[in-house]
Amino acid sequence: MDQALTELGDYISDTLGDVVIAQDCRLGELCLTVKREGILKILKFLRDDANCQFTTLLDICGVDFPEEDERFEVVYNLLSMTHNQRIRLKLRTDEDTPVASATSLFNAANWWEREAWDMFGIAFDDHPDLRRILTDYGFEGHPLRKDFPLTGYVELRYDDEQKRVVYEPVKLTQEFRSFDFLSPWEGVQRMLPGDEKAEDTDEDAPEKEAS
C-alpha cells in the first residue's frame, strides 16, 4: 500500500513539479507540501485527473507554529472514493498573506475556510462569505493561535442593573495552574549528559587521569 502511495506521490510531483515542494509518505499517509500560489492548480489536478480523482475535500485546517516566519500551516485532507486513497496537502502562510480559496473547486471548502479564518486569522481570497463561524458575534481575536491564552480575555455575565449580558475581563478565582509533568528524563539517551565534555578531557588529560 505504501508502494502505491509513493507512486501516486511521484506521479503528482512529476506532473506538477513547479507546485510541489516536498513529498512525504509516512505511516501509510501521503503528504505533499505545496507552494501557496499553486494550491488551486494542484487541487484542480487532484480532482479532475483520472489517476487521482480526489473528489471529496474532507477537511481544511490550520496549524500555528509561532516560532516560524510563516507561522500558519494550512492542511487540506482529500479522499478519493473511486481509488480508495487519501492525500494531504500542506502550505505555509503568515498573518498578512491570504491563501486562494478552494470554494471555486469544492463547495465543502466554504465553512472549513471560515473556521480557519475564525480560529487562526488565515485569510482566503475570493471566499464568498468570509466571516466568523464558531466564536461569538462580537468576538475579537483568533482563539487557536498559540499566543491566545486558554482562559481567553473576556468573560460574560448577566448584569442585573443593565438587564443584559455584559463582557468583562476574565477574573480567575484561582490562579491558572498549568500541570506540566513532563519529566526531564527521556529514558536511555544516545548521548549521555556528560559525553559532550569527552573531547575536552582528551586535551586536559594529565589532570583528569591523575585522580
Binding site: D59, C61, V63, L79, M81, F106, L134, T135, P143, S183
Partner: protein, 392 residues
C-alpha cells in the same frame, strides 16, 4: 383582483426550537412558504475543545471526544485511540479489538435509534421515540456495566479498552439482540409504509452522489444517494474485515432513503454484535505494554514496577513520537476523523476534529432551497446532525 406581490422576509429559526436538533440558529429568507436562502449560524455550543485538548495529556483528552457526538460517544473515542496507536505503532490485542467493535456498533445503534425517532418526531410521529428510548436505555445499561458510565464512557483507550467485559454481560447483550429486532420491526410498521410519513419525506431533500462528494458528505447520507462507501469495508480498522455484514445503499438520495438506510444499518449492526460475541477471543483487553496502558489496581498494589508505571502514566502520561496522522472511522453520522499532530511530548500539539455534521449542515442550504419551511425541518432531521461535534 389585483395580484399581490410576495416580499421575501427573514425568519429566525431560532436556537431554541424543538426541531432545531440542538442549538442551531437558521436564518431563512423566505418568499411566502418557500425558502430562498438558508444561512445556518453555528457556534452556540462552541466549547473550545481543540484548544483544551492541546493542554491535556492524551488520556485526559479522551473525555473531550465523548462529548462531541453525544448520541454515540464511543465512536469518537475510537478515532482518537486509533490515531494515537498509529503514531505510536501500538498493537491492540484481538480481544480489545473485538470489544471495541462491539461497543462501536452499540454506539451506532444508539445513534440511529436517536436519529430515527427524533426525525419521526419532527415529522409528526411521536410513538417511535417512546419505544426506541426504552432500547436506548438498555444499550446504555450495557455501557454502564462495562465501564461505569451510561453515556460518556471514556472507555476506548490507546492500546485497547479501559476494562475487560465479564462473560455475563456478553450473554445478556446476546439475548437482547432478538428482542431488539422485533422492536425494529414494530417501528418499521409504524413508519415505512405510512402515507403521511412518505408524503413528508419522499422526494424531499434530494442530493445526488456528485453533490455529496462535492460537499464532503459521507456516511449514511452518501449511501442513501447510491454510493456504496463505508470505511468499515473500504479501509477497515480493528478487525472489521473479519465480520460478515452488508452495506445498505439507497437510490434516490431523499429523506426517505436516508431513513431506510439507517433502519437497515441497524439490522446489520445487530449482526455484527452477534458475531463479535460469538467469536469473542480470549486474552487481554488492552495492550500489556505498561509504558502506555496502566496496570490493573490489583497489580499496582503488589508490584513495584506496576506502581511506578501507574504513577508515571497518570501524572506525566505517555509520550507520543513526533508525527502527524489523519485517522478516520465510520462513525454513525459519517466519516469522523482526527488530524493529530504530535511534537514528541505528552500533550498533543494540534488536534483537529473533522466532524461529519459540519459538512452535512453546510449542505442544508443546498437541500432546502426551493422547499417549504416544513421540509427544512425534515432535511435537518434526516441528515443527522448534532451540535456537540459541529461546534466542538
Amino acid at each position: 383582483m389585483a395580484e399581490s406581490e410576495i416580499k421575501s422576509y427573514n425568519i429566525n429559526f431560532g436556537p431554541q426550537h424543538p426541531a432545531a436538533h440542538g442549538v442551531l440558529r437558521l436564518v431563512l429568507e423566505m418568499s411566502g412558504e418557500v425558502v430562498d436562502r438558508a444561512d445556518p449560524h453555528i457556534g452556540l455550543l462552541h466549547r473550545g475543545t481543540e484548544k483544551l485538548i492541546e493542554n491535556k495529556t492524551y488520556v485526559q483528552a479522551i473525555g473531550y471526544f465523548d462529548r462531541l457526538d453525544y448520541s454515540s460517544p464511543q465512536n469518537q473515542e475510537h478515532a482518537f485511540a486509533l490515531g494515537i496507536e498509529k503514531l505510536m505503532g501500538l498493537e491492540v490485542p484481538v480481544r480489545g479489538q473485538a470489544i471495541r467493535v462491539l461497543y462501536a456498533e452499540i454506539g451506532r445503534l444508539l445513534n440511529h435509534l436517536m436519529n430515527i425517532c427524533a426525525f419521526a418526531l419532527d415529522v409528526g410521529a411521536m410513538t417511535p421515540m417512546l419505544w426506541s428510548f426504552e432500547h436506548r436505555e438498555k444499550l446504555m445499561e450495557f455501557c454502564e456495566r462495562a465501564c461505569g458510565a451510561r453515556m460518556h464512557m471514556h472507555y476506548f483507550r490507546p492500546g485497547g479498552v479501559a476494562f475487560d467485559v465479564p462473560q455475563d454481560l456478553l450473554d445478556d447483550i446476546y439475548t437482547w439482540c432478538p428482542d431488539f429486532l422485533t422492536i425494529l420491526d414494530d417501528v418499521e410498521t409504524l413508519l415505512t409504509e405510512n402515507r403521511i410519513f412518505k408524503q413528508r419525506t419522499v422526494d424531499i431533500g434530494i442530493i445526488s452522489a456528485e453533490q455529496c462528494q462535492d460537499w464532503g458528505i459521507t456516511g449514511a447520507n452518501i449511501r442513501a444517494s447510491g454510493v456504496a462507501w463505508d470505511l468499515r469495508k473500504s479501509q477497515p480498522y480493528d478487525g472489521y474485515e473479519k465480520y460478515d455484514f452488508q452495506i445498505p445503499v439507497g437510490k434516490n438520495g431523499d429523506c426517505y432513503d436516508r431513513y431506510i438506510v439507517r433502519m437497515l444499518e441497524m439490522r446489520e449492526s445487530v449482526k455484527i454484535i452477534q458475531q463479535a460475541i460469538e467469536n469473542m477471543p480470549g486474552g487481554p483487553a488492552k495492550s500489556i505494554d505498561h509504558k502506555v496502558t496502566p496496570p490493573t489496581r490489583g497489580q499496582m498494589k503488589h508490584s513495584m514496577e506496576a506502581l511506578i508505571h501507574h504513577f508515571k502514566l497518570y501524572t506525566e502520561g505517555f509520550k507520543v513520537p513526533a508525527g502527524e496522522t489523519y485517522t478516520a472511522v465510520e462513525a454513525p453520522k459519517g466519516e469522523f476523523a482526527v488530524y493529530l499532530i504530535s511534537d514528541g511530548t505528552n500533550k498533543p500539539y494540534r488536534c483537529k476534529i473533522r466532524a461529519p455534521g459540519f459538512a452535512s449542515l453546510q449542505a442544508t442550504e443546498l437541500l432546502s432551497k426551493g422547499h417549504m419551511l416544513a421540509d427544512v425541518v425534515a432535511n435537518i432531521g434526516s441528515v443527522d446532525i448534532v451540535f456537540g461535534e459541529i461546534d466542538r
